[in-house]
C-alpha cells in the first residue's frame, strides 16, 4: 500500500482515522492554504458552508500534521515582497507579527576577502585588486563595495522582513483559535498511503520504537489518516513528498539537481550597532566566492544574519557553521555586530532547482504546494511568498471543487489548481528564473552573468545548463595546489582517527584565521546547538537518517555528509560508515543531497525519513 519497507505493526492493530483533508507540513504554503480555506468553512450563522463527507452533516474535517515540535520552529530569515501574503491579509499590520518590519533600506554588497584564504579565481583576484586600487573613489570601504544599483529582479524594497518562525506562529494562532481546523506539531508523517495510483492519506510515524525502528514497550503504530485529499507541503526533504516522487517519478526533464544549505543566526545587536530597523543587505564574494550572505534587521535590535552554501559550491570543505562565523567577522559586518549576542541559530536545505525541480503538482487524491513543489524563484531568491501563494491557489481550487461536489481526481485538480498556478505571477516568474543559475558551476562571474542575462531578457537568453551533476571535488583537486599530498593524507588520517570532519584542519592550513570565541556571539558549534535554539530528540522514535549500503559509504571520500552536517550529528564511524546521532540533528536535510553516490548515477545512500524533534526556537 505504501512505498515504505516492512511494516513493524503487521501483527499489531494500526488505528485509522478518516478526515476530509489531510495536510502534511506547516510552513508558509500550508499557512496560505489553511488561511484561505478556513474563511470558507462556515456560513455567517455558524452552519457548515462546506460539508464533510466523512462526518455527514458536520463541517469539513481538516487536519494538519507538522513534524517539528512547534509551529514556530521553522528556520528562515526572510525578506519578501509579500504580494501573496498581502493579498490574503489586505489590512496586514506588521506590528502584530513579532520581528516583522517593512524594508527601509536595501543594499547589494560585494565583499572582498580580508583574510587572503578564500578560494578565488585569477579573474576574481584581478577584479579585487582593481577594486582595492580604486578604493574610496568607487566607494570601497571596510573591504566591501556597495553596488550602486540592485537589479530589479532582486529588489525587495517594497516588501518586509520576517522571522519565518514568528510568522508561522502568528498564522498558526489565527488558524487554530478559530477552532475550525486542527494543526498538530510534534507529529511526523512517515509516508503517503498509496493504493494503485491514488493517494489515500498519510501514515504517521510509529512511536515506542528503538532507534532501528523495532517495536519496544509502549509501541504505538503510527495511525493511518485516510482522506479524500492529501495536501503535501512538507518541504524539499519531507517524507511524504519524497514518497510520492518515489512512486510516481518526476515529469520528463525535471529533477532536483540544485540545492543550498541556508544557515543563519539571530543576533541581538549591540546598542550602538548603527543598523537601522528594516535594513536589508545581500552580499556575495565572501567567505568564498560561491557563498551568498544576508543580513536583515528586525525590530528590537534583532538581526538575522546568514549564508547560503549551494550544491554547486564544489569544495569538499563545506562547513556552513565556520563559514558563517567568518562571514560575521568580515569587517563590513563586524563593525555592526561586534558586541552582539547569539539568540538563535538554525539551518535548512533549500530546493534551488526552481521550476526544473517541479514534481507532478497534482494526482488522484493529492496536491503539492510550497517549496517541495518547486515554487521557489531562484532568480529573485524568493520562496516564502511564492510558497504562500501556491497554498492559496490550491485552497481556491479545493473550495471550487467542493462547492461543485467534484472529486479530487488528478484531472479535476489539474483543471482547478494547476491551471490557477500556471496563470499566476508565481509560474510566470519561475519560467524567467528557470535557467538563471546555469552559469554558477563555472564560477561566480559566469554565474552572475547568467543571472543578469536571464533577468534582463525575461529568461529568453540563458547560459546552457551544466552537463555534470558532480557535487564535490576531491580534496586533491581542490587543495592539491595549496597542500602537499603527504600533508593532505596526514590531515585525512588524523581526522579519520579522531572521527572528526576535515574542514577545520583544511581551513586552518589554508590560512583561515581561528575564530576568536567570545562566549556571546562567537561560540563553538556545539554551544550553538545548545544556546541557539536547543536541539531536542524525543524518545520512542526511530532514527530518521540511516545509511543504506555500508560498502558504498566505506569507500566514499571525502564524506560530504559528515562535512556538511549542520549539527555535527553525522560523524565518521570507526568502520568507515558514518554514524548518526539524532540528538544533534536539526533536520536540515543536507545529508540527503550531499551523498556522493548520486554522482555515479546510483540512488542516494542516505535514507532520510520522518523525524521528530529538532531545533526549539521560534526566533528563526
Amino acid at each position: 500500500m505504501t512505498p515504505v519497507g516492512p511494516d513493524p505493526a503487521a501483527t499489531t492493530d494500526r488505528q485509522q482515522m478518516d478526515v476530509d483533508i489531510a495536510c502534511v507540513g506547516f510552513g508558509p504554503a500550508m499557512g496560505g492554504f489553511l488561511t484561505t480555506l478556513s474563511r470558507e468553512l462556515l456560513n455567517p450563522d455558524g452552519s457548515p458552508k462546506l460539508e464533510s463527507s466523512c462526518m455527514p452533516g458536520g463541517p469539513l474535517q481538516v487536519i494538519c500534521y507538522e513534524r517539528a515540535d512547534g509551529l514556530g520552529f521553522g528556520v528562515s530569515g526572510a525578506v519578501t515582497r509579500g504580494r501573496g501574503i498581502r493579498r490574503s491579509f489586505p489590512e496586514l499590520d506588521l506590528s502584530q507579527i513579532p520581528m516583522a518590519t517593512a524594508v527601509k533600506k536595501e543594499k547589494l554588497v560585494y565583499l572582498l576577502d580580508p583574510t587572503g584564504a578564500s578560494n578565488r579565481s585569477f579573474a576574481l583576484r584581478a577584479a579585487d585588486k582593481v577594486i582595492r586600487t580604486l578604493g574610496s573613489l568607487i566607494g570601497c570601504r571596510e573591504n566591501a563595495l556597495e553596488l550602486p544599483l540592485i537589479p530589479s529582479f532582486l529588489q525587495k524594497h517594497d516588501g518586509f522582513v520576517l522571522s519565518l518562525g514568528q510568522f508561522n506562529q502568528w498564522v498558526g494562532e489565527q488558524l487554530t483559535s478559530s477552532g475550525l481546523l486542527q494543526i498538530w506539531p510534534g507529529t511526523p508523517v512517515s509516508a503517503p498511503l498509496i493504493e494503485e495510483r491514488a493517494v489515500k492519506g498519510i501514515r504517521l510515524a510509529d512511536q515506542g520504537v528503538a532507534l532501528d525502528g523495532t517495536p519496544q514497550d509502549g509501541f504505538m503504530p503510527g495511525m493511518d489518516i485516510r482522506a479524500a485529499l492529501t495536501v503535501v507541503g512538507d518541504g524539499p526533504v519531507g517524507a511524504v513528498g519524497r514518497g510520492i516522487d518515489a512512486k510516481f517519478g518526476m515529469p520528463a526533464g525535471h529533477h532536483y539537481s540544485e540545492w543550498a544549505l541556508g544557515m543563519k543566526m539571530v543576533i541581538e545587536l549591540p546598542e550602538n550597532s548603527g543598523l537601522e530597523t528594516g535594513t536589508v543587505l545581500h552580499t556575495f564574494g565572501f567567505p568564498e566566492p560561491g557563498i551568498f550572505g544576508f543580513l536583515y534587521v528586525h525590530p528590537d535590535r534583532l538581526a538575522s544574519v546568514g549564508i547560503f552554501i549551494p550544491s554547486w559550491f564544489r569544495s569538499p570543505v563545506r562547513t556552513a557553521y565556520r563559514y558563517l562565523q567568518h562571514f560575521i567577522l568580515h569587517p563590513y559586518l563586524w563593525r555592526h555586530l561586534r558586541g552582539g549576542t547569539l539568540k538563535s541559530w538554525g539551518a535548512k536545505s533549500l530546493q534551488e532547482s526552481g521550476r526544473r525541480g517541479e514534481p507532478y503538482l497534482a494526482g488522484d487524491g493529492y496536491a503539492r504546494i510550497g517549496e517541495g513543489s518547486g515554487s521557489t524563484n531562484v532568480l529573485s531568491g524568493s520562496g516564502v511568498d511564492e510558497a504562500w501563494t501556491t497554498g492559496t491557489q490550491l485552497a481556491e481550487a479545493v473550495i471550487e471543487l467542493l462547492q461543485q461536489k467534484m472529486p479530487f481526481t488528478r484531472r479535476n485538480l489539474e483543471e482547478s489548481y494547476v491551471r490557477r498556478r500556471r496563470a499566476s505571477w508565481v509560474d510566470r516568474e519561475s519560467r524567467v528564473a528557470a535557467d538563471s543559475r546555469n552559469g554558477f558551476p563555472q564560477g561566480l562571474i559566469s554565474g552572475l552573468f547568467g543571472m543578469a542575462l536571464a533577468g534582463f531578457t525575461g529568461g529568453r537568453v540563458v547560459i546552457p545548463p551544466p552537463t555534470s551533476r558532480k557535487i564535490g571535488s576531491s580534496l586533491e583537486e581542490r587543495f592539491g595546489a595549496r597542500i602537499p599530498p603527504a600533508e593532505l593524507q596526514k590531515l585525512k588520517d588524523e581526522a579519520a582517527g579522531r572521527s572528526l570532519p576535515l574542514h577545520d584542519q583544511i581551513m586552518n592550513r589554508c590560512g583561515w584565521p581561528e575564530i576568536p570565541f567570545d562566549g556571546k556571539l562567537l561560540v563553538s558549534h556545539q554551544d550553538a546547538l545548545l544556546t541557539g535554539g536547543s536541539v531536542q530528540a524525543p524518545p520512542g522514535y526511530a532514527n530518521h537518517v540511516s545509511f543504506l549500503r555500508p560498502d558504498v559509504c566505506k569507500n566514499c571520500e571525502p564524506k560530504l555528509c559528515v562535512e556538511m552536517c549542520s549539527g555535527q550529528a553525522i560523524s565518521r564511524g570507526e568502520s568507515g560508515v558514518p554514524q548518526f546521532d539524532r540528538e544533534k540533528c536539526i533536520y536540515c536535510g543536507a545529508c540527503l543531497w550531499n551523498c556522493r553516490a548520486e554522482e555515479s548515477g546510483e540512488p542516494a545512500n542516505v535514507d532520510f525519513g520522518a523525524g521528530a524533534g529538532g531545533l526549539h526556537s521560534t526566533l528563526n
Partner: protein, 270 residues
C-alpha cells in the same frame, strides 16, 4: 471506587526552559525579555501531574480530568497543540500572565476560584494534582495555598507514587531528604498531591485523543476569562539570571568518575 475521581490538575505554562531567558525591569515589575517570542511549554512538574492524573483516571472508570491553567491565551493555545494529543482532559483556562514573577498567593487565589467554578465538580471525589515545584514559581507553595483555600486538609508534596488500595485508601510515596521516600496513607478523596516526577513516561501522541480534546479546548479558550493576579503583596528588589559560562563538549558513554574528574579540572583551571 465505582464512580471514579474528579481530578483537577493545576498546570500553568512557562517559557521553554531550553531557551535563553533574560529578566528585565519593566514599569510593572520584572519580566522576561521577549517573552511572547519564546516558545511555551506546560510546566514540566505539572506535566508529570497531568500524566499521572490521566493514568489514574484510566484505571478508575467514571473519572474525569480537568486541567486548570493560567497563562496568556495565545500561549495556552500553543501549548495545547503539544499536549492535547497525549491524554484526555477538559481545559479550564485563565487568560493571565505566566512570566514567573507572579505572587504565588495571587496565582493560588485565581486558580482556586477557577476550580470552584467548575460545573459538576464533586468535592467528595476531588483529587487536586499539581507540580510540587514550578519551573517558574520556585517558591513551591502555590499548590499548598490552593489546597488551603479549598479546604483540603490531606496534602502531600514531592509525590512520586500514588497507589489506590483495595479499600479505596491511598498509599503515597513522598520525597524526603537523603534520596528516600516517606510512605503515607490517607483515607481517600478529597486530597492534594504536589507531584515530583512520578514514574510515568511522557504518553505517546494519539491523534484520536487530540481530535476529541480540541473540540472542547478551543471553545474553552475562546471563553477564557482575563484575570490579573493581585500584585500588591510582592515587590522584587532585583532579578537576574545565574552567571554562567558555557563550554560544551558532547561525549557519550563516559564514566561518571571521568566526568567528575574533568569538571573538577575545569573548575580548578577557571
Amino acid at each position: 471506587m465505582s464512580n471514579g475521581y474528579h481530578i483537577v490538575v493545576c498546570g500553568s505554562i512557562v517559557p521553554d526552559p531550553l531557551q535563553t531567558l533574560e529578566p528585565i525591569e519593566t514599569p510593572a515589575g520584572p519580566a522576561l525579555k521577549n517573552e511572547m517570542l519564546l516558545p511555551a511549554v506546560l510546566d514540566p512538574w505539572a506535566g508529570h501531574a497531568l500524566y499521572e492524573a490521566a493514568n489514574l483516571a484510566a484505571h478508575a472508570p467514571g473519572s474525569k480530568v480537568w486541567l486548570v491553567s493560567l497563562g496568556v491565551k495565545a500561549k495556552l493555545q500553543q501549548v495545547m497543540m503539544t499536549i492535547a494529543q497525549k491524554v484526555s482532559f477538559e481545559l479550564v483556562p485563565i487568560d493571565g500572565p505566566a512570566g514567573g514573577f507572579t505572587d504565588a498567593h495571587a496565582a493560588a487565589a485565581l486558580l482556586a476560584e477557577a476550580i470552584q467554578g467548575i460545573a459538576g465538580l464533586d468535592r467528595s471525589r476531588l483529587l487536586l494534582f499539581g507540580g510540587w515545584e514550578s519551573a517558574s514559581r520556585g517558591a513551591g507553595v502555590t499548590m499548598q495555598l490552593i489546597g488551603e483555600r479549598l479546604g483540603i486538609l490531606d496534602q502531600f508534596q514531592g509525590v512520586d507514587q500514588l497507589t489506590v488500595q483495595p479499600d479505596g485508601s491511598f498509599e503515597v510515596l513522598e520525597r524526603i531528604e537523603g534520596g528516600r521516600h516517606q510512605v503515607s496513607r490517607c483515607q481517600g478523596a478529597p486530597a492534594l498531591f504536589g507531584w515530583a516526577t512520578g514514574n510515568l513516561p511522557e504518553p505517546r501522541n494519539n491523534p484520536q485523543i487530540g481530535m476529541a480534546n480540541m473540540r472542547a479546548i478551543m471553545p474553552a479558550l475562546q471563553r477564557a476569562k482575563s484575570a490579573a493576579p493581585a500584585a500588591e503583596s510582592l515587590r522584587y528588589r532585583s532579578a537576574s539570571p545565574p552567571k554562567q559560562q558555557r563550554q560544551t563538549r558532547i561525549v557519550k558513554n563516559l564514566a561518571a568518575d571521568e566526568i567528575a574528574q574533568e569538571i573538577v579540572a575545569w573548575i580548578e583551571k577557571a
